[in-house]
Amino acid sequence: MDAISIYLCVAVAISAAMFFIKNKWINFSLFLPAIISQFYFLYFAFNHRGQFFLYYFKIDTIGVIFIGVISILYVFSVFHTYFYDKNRQSSLHQIMVHNSVLVLFVTAMSCALIADHLGLLWALLEATTVCSAILIYFDRSNISLEAAWKYFFVCSIGLALAYVGILFLGIAGQAKEHLDISVSLLSTKSHELSPIWLKISFLFAIVGFSVKMGAAPLFTVDIDAKDTAPSPIGALFSGGLMNVGFVALFRFYEIFSLTEIKPWMDKIILIMGISSIFFATVYLLKVKNVKRLLAYSSLEHIGIALLALASGGIGYMAAVMHLVIHSFVKAGLFYQIGLLYRTYQDKDIMLHGEYFKNYPTGAVVILIGFLCMMSVPPSALFLTEFYTFSAIFQSYQWYIGVGVLILLTIIFYALTKSMIQILFAPMMPMQSVHEKVQPWESFSQYVLFGFVIWMGLSPAQPLLALVTDAVKHLPK
């Protein structure tokens, strides 16, 4: 048995055990072997890049990078899940189902990142959808039921469209030498396939995967999901699942990048990126719910990553790096918003205020987090956005660059307004502080933002080398 088989078996066994064990402590302590197994898998994947496993998996650098991100966020999410359950006084049944599905969710995401066969990639993405729906429905409230239903249904339809794209690619491959629909094989033979089939395949795939990326056009259910799911899960949606959707699109990009449709494909991605940023701007100006605010900010950042990818050159590196850094920033903010909710018992920004006075440790987190999210130096997002705009201007698309900069300025205004409201505005007379949160619960957020700032001041060479390796086969 190789390491991937062991990883899968351990994950399924732990998940099954969590589903049945009724002792809260034992149930929760099972996360320890699950996390050890996850990090062992990461270590194994890092050391076996470029190799095939179980016929349908191939470990590559971009997969390893994002497995690393998911593994780190997994630890922090489990930490915050413990306090979430304790605070909400969740029932034993809720905890058992939630813990069990969380393990499967992380496993499905990690495996999707290394799936080489496109059919298997689709199946694993659908598995993440099934798990997500159950995780969203954690609270068993009307609103969580509505969000879970909408997310599950629209994701299933979106992924069905992506499957049409995969099948079209299969039909195009079948016309030539009966090609298997695996990324490694198709990326070397794609230039022999009919361009019209490739174009239709790409259109279906990009629309379908947009639901997982949380990008336009199918972004709405993703916003609902991040709003309604528990904060630690919202962090995994923004910091993990979004990246998985991006990698699924990246697989298609890898396959088609050596064909004649590449310029057309770049245009489609560019339109998708611009429309994502546009929708984010419009909604951020009117949104009052702090979790939806973070979700719309994720829509903006995936838009920036797509713009970087479409611009080529240094943009490829910027896209991957942007998503890595964004994952840490957004996860940190989601964890903190969970604590903010405990303080005010409300998600409405207008009902927050004086956070500096009520919880100074958390207020500093909000301040640093929002500045990092808005790409203010020394946040590493400033560097990645700088390189993104360099790539846009270098590809002679200055009008797009200027237009997007205007939209980002509006977003900066909207986010600053909300940040000031939370931190400094006087509290409403009817509002009160419901709970004094312990300062050490914000520890993980400091670690994540510390990394983001460190990467902004002095980018870690090993990570840069990995990112360079991940995009080295794409044409300049």
Partner: protein, 222 residues
Amino acid sequence: MTNILIILFSLTLVYLLAAGRLRTYSNALALQGFLLCAIAFKELQELKEVNYLNLIFIMLETLFFKGLITPFFLNYLIKKNNIQYEREPNETNFNALIKIAIIFILSFIIGYKLHHHDFNVSIGTEDTSKIIYFTSSLSAIFTGLLIVIRRVKIITHIVGYLVLENGLFLLTLALGDEMPIVVNLAILFDIISTTLLLGVFVNRVQMTFKDTEISTLTELRD
């Protein structure tokens, strides 16, 4: 023979789009399952190298899952939630026929253009067969999407999703033996769990909102 079965499959789409009774939907889905089973059998049997494991698996998938379990589960949901009819405003059989005719024509044009770029050149038997496959599966996908968009009951949305999945299955058959059994198994597992979970959610929505129409789900907003 395969072509006749595929055309019969297409006719079930007309039936589905015009139907108002929910029992009719489950019956049509069962019929689609049996037809897909027959098509899969004919198609995979004619391959040069028959992979019997894959053949048996696909036969079981269509016969048991698509033909029996899914319609049975739908009937259970219909009975449990006491829903008899789909309520769609201003939909007559004539409208439904016009819509399905447009879907067929559109799918045919797309299929024809993709397989054969020039309308003026005559086509061979193999191409004709591929176009029939393609037109039928694309029609099922469009019909599924139309049902999801136009109908108001949550349970009918599941029917739309299942019709779409059947269209995808037909398109997968056009790939012949290219899909490995492990991948087929993973896909089947996903579709089963999706259908079951959607059903569970229908029950929950009925219990929570005392209604099974999509218009009741409007609490989420900015």
